[in-house]
Every structure is written in C-alpha cells, then in structure tokens.
C-alpha cells in the first residue's frame, strides 16, 4: 500500500500525523457502508489500514495515535447520532402516548443501552465503567435496527459527520503549533535564558511567538548530535533576531546553571507522562533537575500516546546508522577480520530517541494548555476510547 512507501520518507511526527489522518479520511470516504452497523464497518476498515500503518513503523507513535483518534471519532459520532435518534424516538414516544406499554419498554431499553454506551465512551476509564461495561457494539446495532426508517439518511450522515470530524482533527494537527505558541508569553518572561536541544518546529514557533510579543530573551541551543538540528534552529532563531548561543551537547551540564528554563520538543508523550524525545534529552532533563531548572515539554495533542511504556529506551527506540558517528572504513585498518574469532571488537551505538521519565518533566504544554505529567493519563483519556488500545497490540503481534 501507499503507506509502506511513505513511512520512511516523512520526517517529523506532525507531518506523519497529518498524512495519516488524510489517508484515513480517504479510507473512510471510499468505504461502502452497509445498512446495518455502519460504525462497526468503518471501525474495521480503519483498523485494518491502521494496523498496516503502525506495523510499517512501530516507533512512530503518532501514526497509532491518529488511527486511534479516528476510531474514537467514529465511535463518538455514531454515539451522538444514536443518542439523537433515540432522543427523537423518545420525543415521539412522549408526544404519542405515554401509556403505551409496548413502545415504552422498547425505548427505555434502548435508552439504557445508550446510557451505557455513553458511559463507556465519554467517561474516563475508571473501575466503575469497566465493571458496568456493556458491549457497545452489541447495543449500537440494536438501536440502529430499531429505527429502520431513517437508515439510509443516517448512514450517509454518519460518514459525513466522521469525515467532518477527521477534517477537524487534521486542522487541529496543522494548527497545533500556533495554539501552543499562543501560550508562549505566559511562560517566557523578560531576559529569560532558555536552553533547548536539537530542533523542533513546535519549539521554534513557541520562541518566535514570544519574540513577536516583544519579549527579549537569550537562547542556548545544544546542537543535538548526531543530527545537529541545533545548527538549523540556531540559524532560524538568529534570523528572527534572537540572541542565540550554540553549545555542544557536552556543555549542557556546564551551562545549565545559568539557564532559567529548558524548553524542548518531544517525539511522543506516553500515558504515564514520560517523554520519548530525541537522543540526549534525558541528559538535559537530569541536568535541569540537578539545578532545579524547569523542564518544559511542548507537544501537540497528536503526540499524546495512550500507551504505557515498558522499557522504552530499548523497545521504543531506533538505532540509526553508525556512519553518523564513524566513517565507514575508518577503522577497517585496525580490525582483524582475518582471524574471524566471531564477534567483532568494535560496536557503534547510535540510538535515535531517549526516554525522559515523568519525574524529570516539570510541565507539558499541549494545544489544550499546560499540564502536569501526572495528569497526562486523564488528558489522553479524552482523546481515545479504551477499546482502541488493542490496535497496537495486535499490530505488534502481527509484526
């Protein structure tokens, strides 16, 4: 499929997220919806595509996040349509005849199902919801079958609504930088000294926004080996007239004592508040903690991942080419391949990501405002429904 090819090409989780959402939108619009259980059909279709997408690059968590968000949207839209339909039914029932036992029983039954469904989707994944769990997929077809009259219009309406919502999601992803940047002035004061590592578009937009509001501050940019994105960021910041100092990554500890705040971007934010970030970030976070410097992570909502990390340094990491550290053949003269004693003497390790535990993070700034790391699970629960966490698991199993 298209997805496999493009996974390797796209850089940055925002672009990935947007493209994933667009792809899923086209999937939804092309999907033929049956008369019964349209939501289920849509979910299955999205899941099938999502699995492939996630399998293509399991480390890019944004893909999985978007797939889950789309699934969540379908469920929500379906639910709201159902509620509306039942509301209508209820309304008609009330207007027709209140003493009609037959109809009354029917509506109360579906109302209960709706209520259960509403609980399971809209409420946080608490113990109570889990205990009261009624299979939503069972309840939803029931109600939809009950109102058979407006089936065709509703199916079209569902698809339409879902596509609308996905469009909104894409819009959100596109504008997340601006929404985060709007909060910049609240966090950056005059003469602040800010340290950042590598380059992130969110961070640069954030800093630009503060600069545009006539704040003057200095920025220390750690260059972020081995990709040296810090050079790019430094260039951009200077072009905007910000006082910028580029330092080597090894000088982070030396300089952090003179820094007021560390502002960095993230690759993904896990449900426990931990951050998957470009390599070197844990170093910065530890140094910031040692000197009691606030460590602020900027992340668009598409980076919020509903999974809890296990051994993230290894499982959610990616080892890049050693050529970024050592030239190929640079050490060929001192390696004795002739002896063939088995394992080579020289290994080169070049990981792409770092895991920053939640205790090192002072604040998350997302497009929904600032949050504590301990609150992230709840924020994430707003965006995803508990049923969709399985996508990833199945995908990994299939991988």
């Amino acid at each position: 499929m298209v997805a496999h090819g493009r996974q390797c090409k796209i850089e940055g989780s925002q672009a990935t997220a947007r493209q994933t959402a667009e792809l899923l939108r086209s999937v939804i619009s092309q999907q033929r919806v049956p008369y019964t259980n349209q939501a289920g059909a849509l979910i299955d279709a999205v899941k099938a595509v999502g699995e492939q997408l996630i399998a293509a690059n399991p480390v890019e968590l944004a893909v999985g996040n978007i797939v889950r968000r789309v699934l969540h949207i379908i469920r929500e839209e379906d639910l709201s349509l159902t509620t509306a339909a039942i509301g209508e039914l209820n309304l008609s029932a009330v207007s027709d005849d209140e003493n009609d036992d037959d109809r009354d029983g029917n509506t109360t039954l579906s109302a209960a199902a709706v209520a259960a469904a509403a609980r399971s989707t809209l409420r946080p994944p608490s113990l109570q919801t889990l205990l009261e769990d009624t299979p939503v997929s069972a309840a939803v077809p029931q109600t939809s079958s009950s109102g058979a009259a407006d089936k065709s219009s509703r199916s079209r309406k569902l698809k339409h609504d879902v596509i609308e919502a996905v469009n909104e999601l894409i819009q959100d992803i596109v504008t997340c930088h601006e929404q985060i940047a709007e909060q910049a002035v609240e966090h950056i004061h005059q003469n602040e000294v800010i340290l950042t590592l590598g380059s992130s578009r969110t961070v640069s937009e954030f800093l630009f926004a503060a600069k545009e509001k006539k704040r003057s501050f200095r920025v220390f940019v750690a260059e972020g080996a081995p990709r040296y994105q810090g050079h790019l960021l430094a260039k951009e910041l200077v072009a905007r007239g910000l006082q910028t100092t580029l330092i080597t990554d090894s000088a982070v500890f030396a300089m952090i004592s003179r820094v007021n705040m560390v502002i960095v971007g993230a690759h993904a934010v896990m449900a426990n508040g931990g951050v998957i970030a470009p390599v070197g970030m844990n170093l910065v976070a530890l140094a910031a903690q040692k000197h009691a410097v606030p460590f602020v992570v900027l992340a668009g909502s598409h980076k919020l991942c509903p999974l809890y990390p296990h051994n993230p340094e290894v499982l959610l990491n990616e080892l890049r080419s050693p050529s970024e550290l050592l030239d190929f053949g640079e050490f060929s003269d001192c390696m004795d391949f002739g002896s063939g004693s088995g394992s080579p003497l020289l290994h080169v390790v070049n990981p792409a990501f770092d895991y920053v535990p939640p205790k090192l993070v002072s604040l998350f700034i997302t497009d929904a405002g600032g949050h504590n790391p301990s609150y992230m699970y709840r924020l994430i629960a707003d965006y995803y429904s508990a049923d969709d966490l399985v996508v990833q698991r199945r995908a990994i199993a299939g991988n």
Binding site: Y228, T248, A254, L346
Partner: protein, 717 residues
C-alpha cells in the same frame, strides 16, 4: 576586643600599604593603655600624657612641637607633609579642651578604657575605607566634601563606640558637644591648614600610586580623613596607642602573610581592560580578539584561532628571548599537537630542562633570581599559546620553589644539574610512577564481565584498560565521545588495535548505553579542593547520568594535579576553544547551516573545554596515594604540599636511605610513614633502597599492617 582588633588588622592589608602609620617605630617608653600585642607591649611608663592631644594617625608624631618625646625618624614612604603645626595644635587643643570640659568628669578607669576604644575605632576607620568618611566637618578637606548627611550620621555613629566603654551618659554629652563644636571649628581652620590638608591628600595619592598598590586614592584620602576624624576624639595620648596598634599590625603581618600564601592567587580576569592591556604589551603573541564573544565568558581569553600560529612560525628565528625548546612546545600547544594534562606538563618540563641546560647566568645577577624571571617569561609565553592547565601550574610552582631553594654557594653547573635532576624526578615520580600506582589500584576494581565506560581520552584510564587487558581480565569498554575534538576516536583506535572489545557512542546516547555499564572510569584535568573534578567538558554529564543509574564513578587523577582552589560551576574559570570547530561537522557536508556565522552578531558559538563535576557524582578518586573519597581531597592537597618538601629535602629514603627509620616499604612501591599516618612517596620496585629497617609488607586496600619490634599495628589508609 583583642580578637576583634586583630581580625580587623587581618582583614585589610591596605592600611599598611598606604604607609601612614607603620613608618614610626614604637618608642620603647610610649604608652599602651590596652596592650594588644603580647610580644611588644611596652611598659606603661607614660600612662597618661595629658598634653598629647595630637592627632594620632595623620600627623606624624615627631612633627608635633608639643610632643617632645616623639622624635621618630620618617620613613620614605611617609610622604605625607605635616599640616602647619601651630594651627593644628590650636584647633585641637581647643577642641579637646572643649570635649574634656563637656564630658567631665569621666572616671579614670573609663578614660583608660576609652583610650582602648579609640584604638579600636581608629583601627576600624583606617581599615575600612568607607569608615574614612567619619569626618567631623571641622577637619573636612574643603576640596572633597562628602555629603553632609553622611557626615552627620557618622558623627552620631562614632560615640556609641565610646559609650560601650566609657559609659552611656558621657557619650551622649560628647556627641552633642561635638555637634555643637564642629561648627565653630570649621571657621577656625585657617588657610594654611586647608592647604596642608590638600597637600596631604595629593601626597597620599602620589604615595599610593608610587607604591604600585591597587589601593585607590580614595582609600588613602579616606585614611587621611579618618586620621583627622579621630583627632578630635576625647581621648588623649592616642598617638602612642596607635603606633602600638600599627606595630601590632606589623606583627600580625607575618602570620597573615603565611596564611595568604595558602590562598591561591586570583586568576587573571580578562574582562579587566587595564590588566589585559598590560598583558598585551608584554606578550610575544599578538592575538586578535575573537568576535561574537559569549557574554557569560568575558572574563576568559578568547582569540581568533589560527591567527597566531603563522605569526609565531615566522618569528621563530627572531625571538632570542625564548629558548627554542620552549618555543616549540608553545607552538605544539597552539596547534593542538600536544594535549592532555600529563603530556602537556611533561613537554613543558622537558623544554624547561633544555632551557636550563643552555642557560648561563648573566654577569652581576644571581642564578636563582634571573632563572626564575626567565622561567616566568617562558610561562607567560606558554600561557599566550594556551592557558595553563592546573597540572602545569603545579609543576611550575614546584620548579620555582626548587630554584629558590638552590643555595647561593652552589656553582652554576651544579645548580643546573640539581634542577635537571629535580625536574627529571618530578616527571618520574609525580607523573610516570604515579600513573603506574594508579593503574595498580584501579585494576583491582575491574572484575571479569565488567562493562567499563570511559569518556574522551584519558591517558591514565587508557593505561588502566590496557593493563587490565594484559592481566587477562574479561571486560568490555564503552567509549563515549563528544564533539568537537572526538578524542575518543583516538582512544578507540588504540584500544581496538590492542584487541579490546569496544563500543563507541556519542555523549547524547549516554542514557541509552548506561544500562549495560557496570563502572565508569574518568580522567581529570584537575581535582579541586572541594572535591570538584575539573575535566574535559562532558565529564560532568557522564558522571551525572552514571550517578542517576547508581553506577560507581571512578576518577583517575595523579596527585600532582590536585589544587587547593575551589570551584562550584564551570563558568567562573574555564577555557574557550575555537568556535569555528563547532560550526562545522567534519565528514558531514550536509550540515552547513552556520557557514559565515560570525557575520551575525546575535549568534555566538561556545566551545567550552572543561567542566566541573560536583563531588556528589564521584564515588572514588584513584590517586597515587591510594583510593580516596572526594571529601578527602583537601587532606591530600595539604599533605602533598608538605610531603613534597619532606620528600625532597629531609627524608627521601631513596636519596638517603636509613635517615627515615620509621618508613615502611611495601612491595607495590608505596612508602608508609607511621608517624605521619600517610603514604607519602614511592620507591621504584626495581631499585630498592638499601639499609631498610623495616620489612617489605603487603597491604590491603584500607589499612596497612606495620611490624614494629615484633608487634603488628594496623593503620588505616
């Protein structure tokens, strides 16, 4: 009170530098109401010479006509012309009479104590320049008028000092009277007196300048004024007391000097414009200041890279002041051919050795003085090439002390031979042998199956790893490297050649790789007295992450690199490298965002060379004196300074076996002195000293067992 006074005297050396009071030696029959100096307290022969109402400080006693007793010689530093005697006396006489009348009748005891207090106040006034403004308007110099508010305040302030001693009621009266008296007195100051005061101030300025002390003229003025201010105090016979007090200060001076010697000199601060200018005049290299300097590091030198080298190379045959060996080493520092604390130190010492060999004392000069000056000029040249490392600083200090110790009776060739062997011994004992001992210690900390992490390239760590490999220990090495120097690559190459299994990564991946590491071995440029490890930039990061992962951090550092200086951060003292090396990434042509970065004034590139690792992160420091916690560093620093003397002068068992009978020799080369409770030196196992009284003993990590007359005693190390 005594302690207070002496502490004040210690606080400010400026008092004596200005040279107002110290010149007059204490006449043996002068009074001293409150004997502050136990050594030189003269008998109270003239306990209350009531006629002596002269200014104690400002007016040199002999010039006073009424004072027949004080016929004291003037020292040349006392360039302070006396005010016209007649006027002063009259005004003073008036004033003091007034005061005595007003504050009459104070009990005699109170008066005596009051005198004591006056000493204290004078001490205070003279030692704190700010206190110099405690000038009653009467004696204020007309040219420089302090704010009236200040004066009044100080006038009010002055008496409480007295009231402490002389009784509150009296002091209040004094205060009010003074306030009253001050006005009429002002009118009384004659033209002659005013001129005298002005002259005095000018002279004081000149004196301060002439002495070349950095005391601002204000201090001198203030002192002059404070001297005046104390003049109208109600106490008599102050002069003698003050002379005594100043004498006492002189007595303190030697102690103070000794204490001062221990405190390291403040480093050159490059944001001090005048000093930088002075430095530039002297320097051989004329470097161009780098542009786009980082604001935080103004105090450190940073020059355009690469501009000095060609200039110096072209000057090679013109510079006759420098020895070619020194010159060569300087160029090697500049180009970065020699780097690393030990290598730089050895190269420098060997260059000095050559320079000393070719040295001949010019006529009419002594070797010790001229050679020291010569060495100093070499050192300043080397500093121009690259700032000194702590190890080099210590080596230079050692060399200079050795030069100073050469007896004058020694002939030139003998002296040179002595110095040559001293330097040789320093290199052998303090660097080469020390490294061997460190290796021996550190190898015991490597177990089979260990994964050892090291950062950058440290010669000591490299030796440890190679030695452990030669011993057949099975371990893996993780080499962490960083930009821009990539020193780890060189280490990696050498280790892989030797057949060690290595993993190479960059410093950002440290958190990733730390999971598998069991020990961290780090080198150090210096270990400071507070346990801070001053080392290649990035060492602190590595130590911090290791600490976070609860992995022991072992720092390997020879004891000659220890320094009594303390440091908390990496900013106050550091070295700046070439910023251009940051903007370019070798082998990665795609990263060229910062080409021409120096055109934009908003962008600075910071290339720090060192950083300071807090002692919390260091589990152990392996030195040639054994393995110590970072808290023990000051002990080593202290004992090192002493031990050095001791080893070289009195009790070097290798030079004079048998002289130190209590030394215990260990098979691993350590010599332990039970009387000192310290391992102080080493012997070469291949060259055992003769005439040993004690057996060669084994020792464990923590304590040694010493056999004395058949009894075994344990000493903790």
């Amino acid at each position: 009170m005594d302690s207070r006074r002496s502490s004040r005297a210690v606080i400010d050396p400026k008092v004596r530098q200005v040279g107002f009071f110290t010149s007059a030696p204490l006449p043996p029959d002068r009074t001293q109401s409150d004997p502050p100096d136990p050594i030189r307290s003269p008998p109270l022969a003239d306990a209350s010479s009531p006629g002596n109402s002269l200014s104690p400080v400002m007016i040199p006693p002999p010039r006073h006509p009424s004072d027949s007793l004080l016929r004291l010689p003037h020292s040349p530093s006392d360039a302070f012309p006396p005010p016209s005697p007649t006027t002063t006396t009259t005004s003073l006489g008036d004033f003091s009479d007034d005061v005595t009348a007003a504050s009459s009748p104070p009990p005699a005891a109170a008066r005596v104590r009051g005198r004591g207090s006056s000493v204290k106040q004078q001490g205070a006034a003279s030692s704190f320049p700010g206190g110099g403004f405690e000038v009653p308007p009467s004696v204020k110099a007309p040219s420089s008028v302090p704010a009236s508010g200040l004066t009044t305040v100080s006038v009010v302030k002055l008496p409480p000092g007295i009231s402490e001693n002389a009784g509150g009621s009296v002091s209040v009266e004094v205060q009010s009277d003074r306030a009253l008296n001050s006005k009429p007195l002002k009118e009384k100051t004659s033209k002659a007196e005013r001129r005298a005061i002005q002259e005095a101030q000018r002279a004081a300025k000149a004196a301060a300048k002439a002495e070349g002390i950095k005391t601002p003229a204000v201090t001198a003025l203030a002192n002059a004024k404070s001297a005046k201010s104390t003049k109208p105090s109600p106490q008599r016979n102050d002069s003698a007391v003050v002379v005594a007090a100043s004498e006492k200060k002189g007595g303190d001076r030697s102690v103070e000097k000794d204490r001062k010697k221990d405190v390291p000199h403040p480093r050159m601060q490059y944001d001090d414009k005048s000093r930088v200018q002075k430095l530039k005049k002297r320097s051989v290299v004329k470097p161009t200041e780098a542009r786009n300097r980082v604001e935080l590091f103004r105090h450190l030198p940073q020059y355009e890279h690469g501009t000095q080298l060609p200039v110096l190379q072209s000057k090679f045959f013109q510079l006759d002041t420098l020895h070619p060996a020194v010159y060569k080493v300087g160029l090697q520092y500049l180009s970065g051919d020699i780097c690393g604390g030990n290598a730089r130190c050895i190269a420098m010492l060997q260059a000095f050795q050559e320079a000393i060999r070719d040295y001949s004392t010019p006529p009419a000069k002594t070797l010790s003085r001229d050679l020291t000056a010569k060495i100093s000029s070499y050192v300043s040249f080397l500093i121009d090439c690259r700032p000194l490392s702590v190890s080099m600083g210590n080596a230079i200090r050692f060399l200079k002390s050795q030069i100073a110790k050469i007896p004058i009776s020694l002939s030139e060739s003998e002296a040179k031979a002595t110095l040559h062997s001293d330097i040789e011994r320093f290199i052998n004992e303090k660097i080469i042998l020390a490294d061997r001992v460190i290796v021996k210690h550190a190898v015991t900390k490597i177990r089979d199956g260990d994964v050892l992490l090291t950062y950058g390239s440290s010669s000591a760590v490299e030796m440890i790893l190679q030695h452990a490999h030669e011993l057949g220990k099975q371990f893996r090495v993780v080499i962490v490297d960083s930009r821009p120097k990539h020193e780890g690559k060189l280490l990696l190459r050498r280790l892989v050649r030797k057949g060690l299994s290595c993993t190479y990564t960059h410093i950002n991946a440290i958190s990733y790789i730390m999971h598998e590491v069991t020990r961290v071995f780090l080198g150090a440029s210096s270990v400071l007295s507070n346990g801070t490890v001053y080392s290649r930039v990035g060492t602190a990061c590595v130590a911090m992450v290791a600490y976070g992962f609860h992995i022991p951090v072992l720092v390997c550092c020879e004891a000659y690199k220890f320094h009594e200086r303390v440091q908390l951060d990496s900013i106050c003292s550091n070295e700046l490298g070439d910023p251009d090396s940051i903007s370019k990434v070798p082998g990665r042509e795609d990263i060229n965002h910062l080409d021409g970065w120096d055109k934009s004034e908003n962008l600075q590139l910071l290339n720090l060379i060192y950083d300071a690792t807090p002692s919390d992160y260091v589990s152990l420091i392996i030195t040639d004196y054994g393995m110590i916690p970072p808290t023990s560093v000051p002990v080593i620093v202290r004992e090192y300074g002493r031990g050095q003397l001791w080893i070289y002068e009195e009790c070097d068992p290798l030079a004079s076996p048998g002289r130190c009978s209590d030394a215990v020799f260990f098979v691993d080369g350590l010599i332990f002195y039970p009387s000192q409770h310290l391992v102080l030196s080493f012997w070469f196992p291949d060259r055992p000293p003769s005439g040993l009284n004690n057996d060669l003993l084994e020792r464990s990590d923590n304590f040694v067992t010493v056999a004395e007359n058949g009894n075994f005693t344990n000493f903790e190390l």
